[in-house]
C-alpha cells in the first residue's frame, strides 16, 4: 500500500535537492551519492538509497555544467531511483536487495535525460524574468527588479518534487509485484545490479577526465583484485 506521507516527504526533499543542484548553494547535496542516501535516510531505508546513489554517482561522474551546455540531470535520476527503490523495499517488508535496486534503476535511470529536457524547457521562463527585471529597473523599481531572480526557482521545485513523489508512489505500488516475479528473473535482476555498477564504474573511469585514465584505473583494479584474491585464498587456507 502506498504511504502518502512518505511520498510527500520524498517529493519535498527531491524538490529542494533540485534547487540545490542549480539555483542555490551547489554544495553537492544534490550529487547522486548524497541525494540518494539522504532520500534513503529520510524514508527509513538508508541501504537502498546508498547503493542506488553509489551506482548513479559513478554513472554521472563526468557530467559537467559548462557554459550554456546542459548535462543530464543527475539529481532527479538519483532522487527518482532511490525513492522508487526505498518505496519498493518498504512495501515488500523485507528491506532493500540488489534485485530491487536494479529494478529501480532500470525503471527510472533515464530520468537524467528527461531532466535535461525539462531544464531546457524551463529556460524561456527565466529569460522572461530577466526581461521583466530589466523593464522594472528602467522604471526605477530596483528591489522588485532584482527579486525576479528568486522567481526562477519555483518551477524547478514543483516539477522535480512531483517527479520524486511519483517515483516513490510507483515504488510502493511495484513492491508487492516483485515477490510474484519468477525466481530466475529475480536472480537475473540481482545479478544486474553488480553488472550495472561495473559498467558505471567503467564509465566513471572515462568521466574522470584524467590523462592516461586507463593506466591508472587498470593499475588500481589489478591491485584491488590481487588483494581480494589473496584474502580469499588466506581465508580458504
Amino acid at each position: 500500500m502506498v504511504d502518502w506521507s512518505q511520498v510527500a516527504l520524498a517529493g519535498v526533499w527531491g524538490g529542494l535537492l533540485a534547487l540545490e543542484r542549480r539555483a542555490f548553494l551547489q554544495a553537492m547535496f544534490s550529487r547522486p551519492l548524497v541525494a540518494a542516501t539522504s532520500i534513503g535516510l529520510l524514508l527509513g531505508e538508508v541501504e537502498s538509497g546508498l547503493f542506488v546513489g553509489m551506482l548513479l554517482e559513478l554513472f554521472h561522474l563526468g557530467a559537467a555544467n559548462l557554459g550554456a551546455a546542459l548535462p543530464e540531470n543527475d539529481t532527479i535520476a538519483a532522487t527518482g531511483c532511490s525513492a522508487a527503490a526505498v518505496g519498493c523495499a518498504l512495501s515488500t517488508g523485507g528491506g532493500g536487495t540488489p534485485a530491487i535496486w536494479a529494478l529501480a534503476i532500470i525503471m527510472f535511470g533515464w530520468l537524467g535525460a528527461l531532466g535535461r529536457k525539462i531544464d531546457r524547457w524551463l529556460e524561456p521562463y527565466n529569460t522572461r524574468l530577466s526581461r521583466k527585471a530589466v523593464a522594472r529597473a528602467e522604471h526605477g523599481e530596483l528591489r522588485r527588479a532584482v527579486r525576479q531572480n528568486l522567481w526562477g526557482m519555483w518551477p524547478h521545485f514543483l516539477i522535480y518534487a512531483a517527479l520524486a513523489g511519483a517515483c516513490t508512489a510507483v515504488g510502493f505500488w511495484v513492491g508487492p509485484w516483485v515477490h510474484q516475479l519468477p525466481l530466475p528473473l529475480v536472480r537475473g535482476l540481482a545479478w544486474a545490479y553488480p553488472a550495472m555498477a561495473c559498467g558505471a564504474a567503467a564509465i566513471a573511469t572515462r568521466g574522470s577526465h584524467a590523462r592516461h585514465s586507463a593506466a591508472y584505473a587498470g593499475a588500481t583494479a589489478a591491485v584491488v583484485a590481487l588483494v581480494a584474491v589473496a584474502l580469499s585464498l588466506r581465508r580458504g587456507a
Binding site: L61, G109, A210
Partner: protein, 267 residues
Amino acid sequence: MSEPPAGAAALAASPPPSPLPAMTLLRVFARSLFLQASWNPQGMQNLGLAYALFPALKALYPDPDRQMAAVRRHLAFFNTQPYMAAAILGGVIHHEARIARGEEGPEVVVGFKAALMGPLAALGDGFFWLSLRPALGAFCAALVPVLDAWAAVLFLVLYNVVHLTLRAKLFRMGLRLGDRLVEAVAHAHLPAWGARLRTVGAASAGGAVAYLAISLGANQGGRVGNALAVGYLALGVLAYWLTSKRFGNYALLYLAAGLAVAAGALL
C-alpha cells in the same frame, strides 16, 4: 590547497579597506549563493549577479538615479563558474566603491567583468567541475562498501572544505585586490591541482570496478560466484572499451542490465 604566495603578499600590502559595513558584505556573499536561481540563455547569470550586488549598490549610491544606473549595468550579460563568481563579485564591489567616490568611470567595472568572467570560468570549470567533484565522487563511491553512508558524509565534508574556503577567500581577494586578483588566482596553481585530482578519480573508479565485481559477484553468485566475479570484471573492461568508441552511456547501462538479467534467468 597551498596559499597563493603573491596573493598573500598582495593582501598584506593592503589596499584601502572596503567602505561597506561587514553585514552588507555578508549579505552580498549570502545572496551570491543564489547566483544561478534564474539562469537563462540570454543574460545567463545577470539576474543573480544584480540580486547579489543590490545591498552593496544601495549602500554605495544613496542617490536613486546613480543607484538605478548601477543596477542596470549589472543586469547585462554575465556568466562564469558560480564559485569563481565570488572573486568577480568582490572585485565589482571594489570598483563600484571607486566609482562612487568618483575615482574611476563606470566603464571600468564593465570591462573588469568582461575581462575576467571567461578566464575564471575556464579555471573554475577545470578545477571544480572536471577535477575536484569527479575525483571525490569516485573516491567516496569506491569507499561505500567500507564506510556505508559515511562515504556520502565524507564526500560532502571534503568537497565543501575546499569549496567554501575558496569561495570565501576569492570574495575577500576580489574585494581587496580588484584587478590584481588575477595574479593571486594564478598563483593558486589550480590547473596543476586539477590534474592530480583527475588521476585520483581515475584510480578510484578502477578500484571500484574491481571491488564491486569481486565482492558483489561472490555475494550474488552462490556456486558460480567466482565465474560471476570474472564476468563482471570482463564486463567492466568491455564497458571501458565501448565508452572509448563513443557507445552511449545509457545504452551501456541497459545493455549490462540486459545481459545480467538474461544470464541470471537462463543459467
